[in-house]
């Protein structure tokens, strides 16, 4: 029976009606009987030994549940990769806002006073706050040398190229921390009883990360820990690893009190205490021929991991692998390291290292162009990877990607050439300067190298008693469309109407571990497993003679109902198997880093107003090759949303630090763009397919994060003729840059001078 294709159509969002009617259940919407509220007592200093904790007598502490490190039944750590991060500080603290004690009480209004009534005395230790201080090693705060992880990627003969270089171009590029700023703050509810163990419900991306962490923390077996994802109001990586910490806290309070405990952070606590994007510093030294071809180079990529290792090694890995961009490097040496500072640990945020290293690469390409006297367009044309060539990790590009054409198309739809010439003329006078900027990049989807093999994801598809179909995955919906697209894929695979398929709410009691919802892997990797598991359901029904090879929806429903009535359950499982032709060497850090890369060219048109030194983005073109677009509306929404976050990353979102603590932890002072700050963002797709992805899809969730910052800063450089190499690029920084070049004043006056410099 023929079925109109569902994949490729913008079918209705599965949980959309709940969202527009306000009936979705987010964690703070849930109330359990007898529930207590929890709060966290946190360190006020960046580093030191805990000497004494005093509880003020003005509070009746008998009413409170109090949990300290000694109450932890299992291991006092949040188990992730290395187990160095304590759940509660015991003898020492290593960063401001580090959790020390937990409190619970039935009246949540009493908690702030109670927290304030606990004073902790410390013996302070010297603390470090920058990558440079960490590298100097005057203080060792982690391991032997403050270094969480290093990687070395080498290709070709990099030491031999310098003598042949016509140009050697150097540059250093830095990016700041960025707060994920999901509009729903972190929250968890935990309940405990001896029979069932621990159950947590919360705002989260990765149920099985929390499951693993709670097993170790509470010393409970797998079947005595249950994690349920509630509707999650944005995540972007900020709820990848952090929820394990807040779940642990709620669980400990629940275990001690015997009552359900809800912990919901307010905005200030969430901003100050939870993870942010790793700050980075990238140094490029590149040998270039006079034909404008890259001969080779050295890249030093350093990221600030904060006080504990958490995910820094993986962020570092992705950043290092992407550091060379979409270009052909005959020789390269990439030295990457993640270092420790006394700040709350930095963590996952959409892009996961790639936005940092790609910012550097794309700024550096414009620098090379300038030094050689060629255009930003030309320098990229001459160095783009071609099919058959190998990346920096020696991964051969096997798909027919044509980056020349991609660039040409982006230039055309953005009217680049015409605008560039127009702006060059108009920038001669007045107080407005306009510019165009390009960023070309790639983004690998799925876990790096052997990661997917290690994850060994399992997916289930179920034929239900009523004849409908359910997808069983631990992949979570948090706005990107997981439920919708995985249902689409299963429906397509089974040739059933989209309405007959749904996705089960991720609950570790119900669903297998299909891996974390990260790394742009859900549609591509998990979706492909959904496809095969769905086919498994069909196969079972056919082999049971309940269904013929060709069937309609009604026939499927009847067959399914009958099977379940007879056998009790109809479930088919599919486990990830690494493709035979993907090789990755973890030691040499070489080989096929990712099953698939998506490719992109982004172009920004900006205005700099010399009265305020402010930048506005007037037009933004996002063109990308993504394998196959399974859901046009969702895909477009992902790109636009990611570009908006990238614009924030480059022009607005500055974390103000003081002694390791974020000072501007409020929405008033941490600035993300509003509706009036962004132009309509124009999205275009190309589709080459992808054999490793469901219905040809590649991952796209993180891709849009990589392009906006370099495209915009390149555009500012084009407008002003000045290099800017650090983001966020605020008006204050632009003013400083202009002043340094002696170009300060706008043309209100005919003479040069800022206030105070009258000539």
């Amino acid at each position: 029976m023929r079925n109109d294709s569902i994949v490729g159509k913008s079918v209705p969002r599965k949980e959309g009606r709940d969202k527009v009617t306000g009936t979705s259940q987010y964690v703070d919407d849930m109330v359990l009987p007898d529930m207590l509220f929890g709060a966290t007592v946190r360190s006020q200093i960046p580093r030191g030994r805990i000497r004494r904790i005093t509880f003020s007598p003005q509070i009746n502490w008998d009413e409170f549940v109090i949990v300290a490190a000694k109450d932890i039944p299992g291991k006092n750590c949040i188990s992730l990769i290395s187990d160095d991060q304590p759940c509660l500080a015991n003898e020492a603290v290593s960063h401001p806002e580090e959790p020390v004690l937990l409190l619970a009480h039935p009246d949540r209004h009493l908690l702030p006073q109670a927290v304030a009534a606990i004073s902790i005395e410390y013996e302070p230790l010297p603390a470090i706050f920058t990558m440079e201080e960490s590298e100097r090693r005057s203080e060792i705060i982690w391991g032997e040398d403050n270094i969480f992880k290093t990687y070395l990627i080498e290709k070709g003969q990099v030491d031999a190229i310098w003598k042949d270089a016509d140009y050697i171009v150097e540059g250093e590029y830095t990016t700041g921390a960025q707060e994920q700023l999901y509009i729903e703050n972190n929250g968890m509810i935990a309940a405990f009883d001896a029979a069932h163990g621990i159950t947590v419900w919360g705002s989260l991306q990765c149920p099985y990360y929390i499951h693993k962490a709670l097993m170790a923390l509470c010393d409970l077996p797998a079947e005595k820990v249950r994690v349920v994802q509630m509707e999650t109001g944005g995540a972007f990586g900020g709820k990848e690893e952090y929820p394990s910490m807040i779940a642990a806290h709620a669980a400990l309070l629940a275990m001690k009190s015997g009552k359900p405990v809800k912990i919901i952070y307010d905005r200030m606590e969430d901003m100050a205490a939870t993870t942010k994007r790793h700050p980075s510093r990238t140094h490029h030294r590149t040998a270039v021929s006079k034909q404008g071809k890259i001969l080779g180079g050295e890249i030093e990529f350093t990221i600030d991991g904060g006080a504990y290792a958490t995910l820094s090694s993986v962020v570092l890995s992705r950043g290092a692998i992407h550091a060379g961009g979409p270009y052909f490097w005959p020789s390269i040496r990439i030295r990457a390291k993640a270092v420790a500072t006394n700040a709350p640990p930095h963590g996952a945020f959409r892009g996961f290292g790639a936005p940092q290293s790609l910012f550097a690469m794309e700024r550096h390409m414009d620098r090379i162009a300038k030094q050689l006297g060629v255009s930003p367009v030309e320098i990229r044309r001459r160095n783009f990877l071609k099919p058959g060539q190998a990346t920096t990790t020696e991964q051969v590009v096997r798909e027919p990607i044509n980056l020349q054409k991609l660039l040409a198309r982006a230039l055309e739809v953005s009217d680049y050439q015409f605008k560039k010439e127009k702006f060059a003329k108009e920038n001669q006078g007045g107080t407005i300067r306009k510019g165009m900027g390009i960023a070309a990049f790639l983004h690998g989807a799925g876990f790096t190298g052997s990661g997917e093999r290690y994850l060994s994801s399992v997916v289930g598809v179920e034929g239900c008693a009523d004849g409908s179909v359910r997808v069983l995955v631990s992949s979570t919906e948090f706005g990107q469309g997981t439920k919708t697209v995985l249902s689409q894929i299963a429906a397509e695979a089974l040739a059933l109407p989209y309405e007959n398929v749904s996705m089960a709410q991720p609950d570790t009691l119900e669903v297998p571990n299909s891996g974390p919802t990260v790394a742009s892997r859900t549609v591509m990797v998990v979706g492909k497993l959904v496809q095969s598991a769905a086919l498994g359901v069909k196969q079972t029904l056919i082999s049971s003679n309940l269904l013929r090879d060709a069937y309609n929806a009604e026939e499927f429903r009847a067959a399914c109902q009958e099977y379940v009535a007879t056998h009790g359950q109809l479930r088919s499982w599919s486990r990830y198997e690494a493709p035979a032709d993907i090789f990755w060497d973890d030691q040499k850090y070489r080989g096929e880093a990712y099953a698939a890369f998506a490719w992109a060219v982004y172009i920004a048109e900006i205005t700099v107003d010399l009265t305020t030194y402010g930048v506005s983005v007037d037009d933004f073109v996002a063109l990308q090759e993504v394998g196959k677009v399974l859901h046009p509306l969702l895909a477009r929404g992902q790109i636009i949303g990611g570009v908006a976050q990238g614009i924030g990353f480059s022009l607005y979102e500055k974390v103000v630090w003081q002694n390791g603590r974020m000072q501007n932890g409020q929405m008033t002072n941490y600035i993300m763009p509003t509706a009036t700050d962004l132009p309509p963002i124009r999205v275009f797709f190309e589709e080459l397919g992808n054999v490793y992805g469901a219905y040809g899809a590649k991952g796209i969730g993180e891709l849009p994060m990589d392009g906006p910052a370099p495209a915009i800063v390149n555009a500012v450089a084009d407008a002003l003729g000045i290099h800017f190499d650090s983001i966020p690029l605020l008006p204050e920084d632009i003013m400083d840059g202009l002043e340094k070049e002696g170009l300060a004043a706008p043309s209100h006056e005919s003479t040069v001078g800022l206030a105070g410099r009258i000539r």
Partner: protein
Amino acid sequence: MTDSRAGHVQARISFTINGGTRTVHAHPMERLLDVLRERLQLTGAKEGCGEGECGSCSVLIDGMLVNSCLVPVLQAEGSNIITIEGIAAGDTLHILQEAFLQGGGAQCGICTPGMILAAVHLLNRNPEPTWEEIREGLSGNLCRCTGYTQIIEAVAEAARRRATA
């Protein structure tokens, strides 16, 4: 048992909400947001920032868009409140809710109730807004997922449909 509000007189406050009259006993300074969510189980309004910056707590009071995290419940006495739960007519969605659904205006959904109410407020006053006017009308509602484009398109589409209905 210690009560944070012990010693403070509770007030009896009545208002119309989504078409029905309700009376609550609450501390006069309790935030309207908390009264809605905790006492009336209307959890559509969300707390995103607690300081009137994000708009996810927006409701309509006497037809005016306000941030309910900044309204002490005593000041809502006698008023007519509409929350997201009161926007649809039974099972029939409001034209804006339909437009958001069809146009990808909601991703994670946490800003959506406030955003839809802000759009209702805008269209009630300006039935055929320009792109700029829509942006301005939604400028107090932050969205981290969508980058706003599909939200603005949904509002424009709803306005178009209403005009041709």
